[in-house]
């Protein structure tokens, strides 16, 4: 059991609360940096995806987990980022310019989506973003002169400072650096008044506006920041798969992205990363699990869909706090041993939390 004696107000907003965190995060960073030398090429390639999905998950977590705004249209921002990157690269722009443009353009689109969000709540917002996703997908498919339509668009390897990032390891370091930067940026943002304002809006819009928070400004900002991060993720994704078509940015992709946030645990940045890792590992687990299933079941294409759905349902029913919540429980079990009680993390049910009353 660790006791933290607070002797200074600055301690509350320090990046690391205690030495243990410095040690464990340091170890994690060291392991991640050493990863290309430790793991096989295949695992490294999966780590690319984990990094990319983490960035997107962080963006979505900011919006869904911290500002409380629902989005079922994040694949659209992913598409904006990916196609901006592809287009600017084919025009010969350097990577720095293109990825920043991808982020900015996604943010601009995010603002446009954020505007109706000022008036919409709950399910209406979810459906508005869903509609937006479908429209963007259709635009991407039809605007063939720019996006290549269903023919898709090829991307070349990234050039950075005159070097070509051809190897898996160099691309991994790029993804890792951007993921770490996004994490750090969000941790800092959430410690700032802006981040506090987001959380206040999530918890109660009425009380937030009573305390002088400009709802319109902060909601739009949240949408823009979330979209920008998703755009960066989209740009990296485009480079990772090297070939993008509109089918990669459908509503199902949006749902998968939201699943990252739900499975990881709503309202924690750790959750976004854990959720991303889980979503990448799940198909591998399924293909491993297939070996134990009877052949008649294992060979079916619907298996993945069923497992995905069941995992989602199981997480929401049995572990609403997600993977990170599970970790917190395990940790406090050992910290408080033998005094841990099952009720410590029990959520209070709020019957009839009506959305119609607003």
């Amino acid at each position: 059991m660790r006791f933290i004696f607070k002797t200074d107000y600055d301690q509350d907003i320090r990046l690391f609360q205690h030495g243990g965190q410095v040690f464990w995060y340091g170890l994690l960073v060291a392991l991640l940096i050493a990863a290309p030398f430790l793991v096989s090429e295949y695992v490294l390639s999966q780590l690319h995806f984990v990094c990319i999905y983490s960035i997107v998950g962080l963006g979505l977590m900011l919006l869904v987990g911290y500002t409380g705004q629902i989005s079922l249209g994040h694949a659209a921002f992913l598409a904006v980022g990916a196609y901006t990157e592809a287009l600017l690269q084919s025009k010969g722009m350097p990577f720095f310019v293109s990825i920043i443009s991808a982020a900015l353009l996604s943010a601009a689109v995010g603002v446009i989506v954020g505007l109706p969000a000022l008036r919409l709540k709950g399910i209406y917002l979810a459906i508005a973003t869903l509609a937006f996703n479908v429209i963007v997908e259709e635009i991407v498919t039809r605007w063939e002169s720019v996006t290549g339509g269903n023919q898709g668009k090829h991307l070349k390897a990234i050039e950075l400072f005159g070097f070509r990032l051809v190897g898996d390891a160099s691309f991994y370091y790029l993804c890792l650096a951007l993921t770490a930067l996004s994490c750090l940026a969000l941790v800092n943002l959430l410690r700032s008044p802006t981040g506090r304002a987001f959380v206040a809006i999530r918890d109660s819009e009425i009380s937030a506006s009573c305390m002088g928070i400009n709802l319109a400004k902060y909601k739009t900002m949240s949408f823009a920041l979330s979209a920008a991060l998703t755009g960066v993720g989209g740009a990296l994704y485009a480079h990772k798969v090297a070939f993008i078509t509109p089918e990669q940015f459908t509503l199902l992709t949006s749902i998968e992205l939201v699943t990252i946030v739900i499975i990881g645990g709503i309202g924690s940045l750790h959750g976004a990363v854990l959720g991303a890792a889980f979503i990448i590992v799940l198909p591998q687990l399924i293909s491993i699990g297939k070996d134990w299933l009877p052949a008649a079941v294992a060979s079916q294409s619907g298996l993945q869909s069923i497992v995905f759905g069941l995992v989602l349902i199981a997480f929401i029913i049995f572990e609403p706090l997600g993977l990170y919540g599970r970790w917190l429980k395990i940790r406090s079990y050992f910290q408080l041993f033998p005094f841990y009680r099952a009720g410590t993390f029990r959520r209070q049910k709020s019957y009839m939390r009506s959305e119609r009353l607003r």
Binding site: A128, A131, E138, Q300, L312, I316, I317, L357, R358
Partner: protein
């Protein structure tokens, strides 16, 4: 010219009826339990598959097919409520939405695994065939007229049910105020379960009506996504609104498909819903309450 518009209009209304039935399912569940069932389209798909089995494998007549699909789906709907939805009663809306998305995934997966259903596209024969009626210059398919007539009949039946039947009134009471309904001796949870059953049955009916037009396959449920704009257009909590919304979406889609360039047909519904939401954030028939702090 006029006959062409009439023809398009009728086709749109027929398609809109299916949207309206799925939207009706959304609204029933939303009013009662404040959850939005994203698996409604997949319930429709499952209902169509049960209809297919009854019709092609068992060789039953059309009316028996409909009854069979409705009955089976009502049971499926109640089971879903009991097993999955009831444990998360009172959770935030979005959480429950995600759970229904999960249900949709599971149903789509299961359907592809059932022998005889699989991933192929099936055709469900319609008793109305390809017969047409000529009114003026317009050529109207009997099948479309039948879809409209059957939807109207179902709506009338539901109206009578909600207006006069004890259970229907109890359902209305539950959806207005659960606590007050509970105090009046209505078993709220059981009624919620029955509402899920009713909603799934309505979806199955929609699925069978849609089957001759759009074929039966495991991704048929995505048509249900078009019912969202319909439900939103009518305001999520309004039963007549859902039907009107569905018809509007159907007609807009039919007209957009004919008069606007390619690509507008599939997005027309969503463009309409975005515009409506921008100006009327709670739909056309939407009811707004104000929260007391």
């Amino acid at each position: 010219m006029l006959s062409q518009v009439l023809q398009l209009f009728l086709a749109g209304v027929a398609q809109g009826c299916v949207y309206a039935l799925v939207a009706l399912g959304f609204v029933l569940i939303y009013k009662a339990t404040e959850t939005v069932n994203f698996a409604q389209g997949d319930l429709m798909m499952l209902g169509a598959f049960f209809g297919l089995t009854a019709s092609t494998v068992l060789g039953w007549p059309y009316w028996a097919t409909i009854l069979f699909a409705i009955t089976v789906m009502a049971v499926v709907g109640m089971m879903i409520e009991r097993i999955v939805i009831r444990p998360v009663l009172g959770y935030p809306t979005f959480t429950v939405v995600m759970i229904t998305i999960g249900i949709g995934y599971v149903m789509r997966g299961i359907v592809t695994m059932v022998p005889g259903w699989g991933t192929e596209t099936h055709a469900l024969p319609s008793p109305f065939g390809n017969a047409v009626v000529r009114i003026g210059g317009a050529v109207l398919a009997v099948e479309q007229l039948a879809v409209i007539a059957m939807t109207a009949a179902l709506c009338a039946l539901l109206y009578v049910f909600f207006r006069y039947a004890k259970l229907g009134v109890a359902m209305q009471a539950t959806s207005q105020n659960q606590l007050a309904a509970y105090y009046m001796g209505i078993p709220v949870r059981r009624v919620n379960m029955l509402i899920w059953g009713l909603s799934a049955a309505v979806a199955a009916f929609g699925g069978i009506l849609l089957a001759p037009v759009a074929f039966v396959h495991s991704n048929m449920g995505f048509i249900g996504l078009k019912a969202f704009p319909a439900a939103v257009l009518g305001g999520f909590g309004s039963v007549p609104g859902a039907i009107v919304g569905g018809l509007i979406i159907g007609v807009v889609e039919a007209l957009a498909g004919f008069y606007l360039p390619e690509g507008f047909k599939d997005t027309a519904a969503y463009v309409v819903v975005l515009i409506v939401l921008l100006f009327m954030p709670s739909g056309i028939f939407g009811e707004t309450f104000h929260k007391k702090v």
